[in-house]
């Protein structure tokens, strides 16, 4: 039995099953037909047929991000592989574990510009954590299992396996190598005791400590969030989260200051600016977070906990770097904190909170919903109110709606929020939502979307129907590429160059044409009813919410500005001259 020869395609299926894969998102083509044939002849793996390979990768991202498992993609050679590139880059930037199988022309034709040949390993080298070209059937079992190990270990990321067609058909012996240790890649998990002792001592001694946590906490697993919660409650310190970190700490907790960064809250950004100790946990001092670097958190010492040593001292020099798994290190910190009976000074913390409460009084997220024109913030806040007690997952596209979703939707658990943070990929949200729904068939999955982003991958509406994923697309429709329009208003003299979409499809009719349900709200009074109806329908729904076209997203730290140079609303806009230096920044 053990040495019965299998074809490469059969081995691929076996390896996927042994790695715990239950769903593959893919699209067939000439160079992967043997794998599709093997899929046809088995029933352990479910295949979700997408409409464009880019969609498959985002679906796998949504699947992975909401489950903590490795997402799996299967595409053909050439255009199949190149269509996957955006999603792979997205997954690399946001540290999402994926294994993407790409077909390739047979080994003897590689390099001949064969039909649908592309140098897939060459093209994907900079946008994957690692990639493989399988040239010998004997290597296939090892590479399959290694790929999963690499994708999920350390800082997770996408891995490509390029599979020439002759390898898929060759005969060989399969061995389950899912438990074998990798010879070179073994990320450090635990911190040194001295590092932990230093860290907790710094926290206990701080006068204005602030935890600044990101997606690394979520990637580390549910336990990491629990430990983070414990540590933060024990210290009594405030906490802010990055866009990728939302849900890592309960969004409704009073120690949570909201998201920080370009569209973060006033209190989070000013706390960052004024802190004397920043404890960065699984976050990477991204430019959306730091604002102008030479004015970033000028009076603070910094502890940086991250599994990726290259994230440390990349943008911001820190005083105490700790490399390792966030969950493990938080665990170590908790133990030492308790064993030493450490405490922060209550009086000092009280003063810090008093200052923070002063900032909170600005109520930076307030908006005026007067009259019947729907404010986008209102639409999202109502969506939150209507869904917060449900088993609900939110994805987003990219733009103003994404930032409003991050500001007004509160996440109390990790893995509930899927957004394209690092790459900012419009078109991510719908396929990601389908991937989430496939993983959680009973849950409510809503893509908070902008009309322009939605159009980027709307072909996946058809996928949702075919695979029975009743996702909801909640579109704050402003007919503008709102975020582009906002930057043009603030930095380019309100010259709205090519940011208005004329000739939008009628989204309600579009929904119907695609076997979805289409709903629309054009007045504030209608929003709640549309949301209720959307939730109650057990089919995919577009909710087309016509919102105020001119609304801008605040607070905002303009590019090149510091945390304490935030714009809080339209009144601040007038004073914004837009520095030359800032204009060149993205």
């Amino acid at each position: 039995m053990a040495d019965r020869k299998l074809t490469g395609s059969e081995m691929i299926i076996k390896a996927l099953v042994n790695e715990g894969v239950d769903t593959v998102f893919g699209y067939p083509g000439g160079a992967v037909l043997p794998i599709y044939d093997a899929i046809f002849q088995q029933n352990q793996l479910k295949h979700v047929l997408v409409r464009q390979e880019g969609g498959a990768v985002h679906m796998a991202e949504g699947y992975a991000r909401s489950t903590g498992k490795v997402g799996c993609v299967l595409v053909t050679s050439g255009p199949g592989a190149t269509n996957a590139v955006t999603g792979l880059t997205d997954a690399l930037m946001d540290s999402i574990p994926l294994v993407c199988l790409t077909g390739q022309v047979p080994t003897h034709m590689i390099g001949n510009d064969a039909f649908q040949e592309a140098d897939t390993t060459g093209i994907t080298r900079p946008c994957t954590k690692h990639n493989y070209l399988v040239k010998d059937i004997a290597d296939l079992p090892r590479i399959m299992h290694e790929a999963f190990y690499v994708a999920r270990s350390g800082r997770p990321g996408p891995v490509v396996i390029d599979l020439p067609k002759d390898i898929q058909m060759a005969l060989g012996t399969y061995k389950d190598l899912s438990q074998v240790e990798h010879k070179t890649y073994r990320p450090r998990m635990k911190a040194e005791k001295t590092e932990i002792e230093k860290a907790v001592a710094m926290i206990a001694a701080a006068k204005k400590p602030l935890f600044y946590c990101g997606g690394g906490v979520i990637n580390s697993g549910l336990k990491a969030s629990k430990q983070l919660d414990r540590l933060i409650k024990l210290t009594g310190a405030p906490v802010t989260l990055t866009l990728m970190g939302l849900g890592a700490y309960p969004g409704t907790d009073k120690q949570f200051l909201g998201m920080l960064g370009m569209h973060g809250t006033y209190e989070a950004n000013l706390a960052m600016h004024d802190a004397d100790l920043i404890v960065a946990v699984g976050s990477r001092f991204d430019d959306r977070v730091t604002g102008r670097l030479n004015a970033f958190a000028p009076n603070s010492k910094k502890i940086h906990i991250d599994i990726d040593p290259s994230s440390i001292n990349k943008n911001v020099m820190v005083d105490l770097p700790i490399v390792g798994d966030v969950g493990t290190i938080l665990d170590q910190m908790l133990r030492v904190w308790k064993a030493k009976g450490l405490k922060t000074n209550p009086k000092v913390m009280k003063a810090w909170w008093k200052q923070i409460d002063g900032w909170r009084q600005r109520d930076c997220l307030k908006y005026n919903q007067t009259g019947s024109v729907i404010k986008p913030q209102y639409a999202i806040e109502r969506l939150y109110e209507a869904t917060k007690d449900r088993d609900c997952y939110i994805t987003t596209e990219v733009g103003q709606h994404q930032m409003w979703a991050a500001q007004y939707y509160k996440f109390n658990e990790p893995k509930r929020w899927m957004t394209s943070g690092g790459l900012g990929t419009m078109g991510y949200g719908l396929p990601a939502a389908i991937g989430v729904q496939v993983a959680h068939p009973e849950a409510l999955v809503v893509d908070i979307s902008g009309e322009a982003s939605f159009l980027m991958n709307m072909q996946e509406m058809s996928t949702a129907v075919q695979c029975g994923a009743p996702v909801k697309v909640f579109i704050t429709n402003n007919q503008y590429m709102g975020m582009v329009r906002q930057w043009q208003e603030l930095m380019h003299g309100s010259r709205y160059s090519e940011s208005y979409t004329d000739a939008l499809p009628d989204l309600v009719k579009l929904a119907e044409a695609c076997h979805w349900v289409g709903l629309r709200a054009t007045k504030a009074e209608e929003v709640d009813d549309v949301i209720q109806e959307m939730i109650s329908i057990d089919r995919p729904v577009i909710a087309d919410i016509w919102v105020d076209q001119k609304e801008n997203c605040f607070p905002m730290i303009p590019s090149g500005a510091a945390h304490n140079e935030m714009l809080l609303g339209p009144d601040d806009e007038a004073q914004q001259s837009g520095s030359e230096e800032g204009m060149v920044l993205v």
Partner: protein, 170 residues
Amino acid sequence: MVADSTIERHTIAVLVDNEAGVLARVIGLFSGRGYNIESLTVAEIDVADAISRITVVTSGTPQIIEQIKAQLDRLVPVHRVVDLTAEGASVERELALVKVAGKGNKRVEALRIADIFRARAIDSTHDSFVFEISGATEKLNAFIDLMVPLGLVDVSRTGVVAIARGKSAL
């Protein structure tokens, strides 16, 4: 903490699995992230285990140098990254083949200088020499500079290889 902005030159040794694409990965990392490569050499050093050693000479601020090492270290086929410049004394050598064409006095002068530099003539015709010279990069530079007026026509250099002093291995 404020970053130090002085530019330093570092020689970094990297042990990698000698597998397809590994050099492209290393080079792509440097070009993609805008790091400098002053010199790069690579060859297999352990045939049984298929391990290659890459020696890369790069320059940057201390922060960038640390980044380069961390980025190299997280490439999957990389076994070890050692900053030979930072970790105690090391020796560096480079080899060059230098072709000089000329006649008469210039030819004699070229030979004389080669002798001083302990370069060997490994090919000679009536009107040309190929010299082999090894040593520190600066020595090679000096030799090549001196050959320019004497009829330098072609140079091929290996780039730097380096190894730590003392008894321990990488």
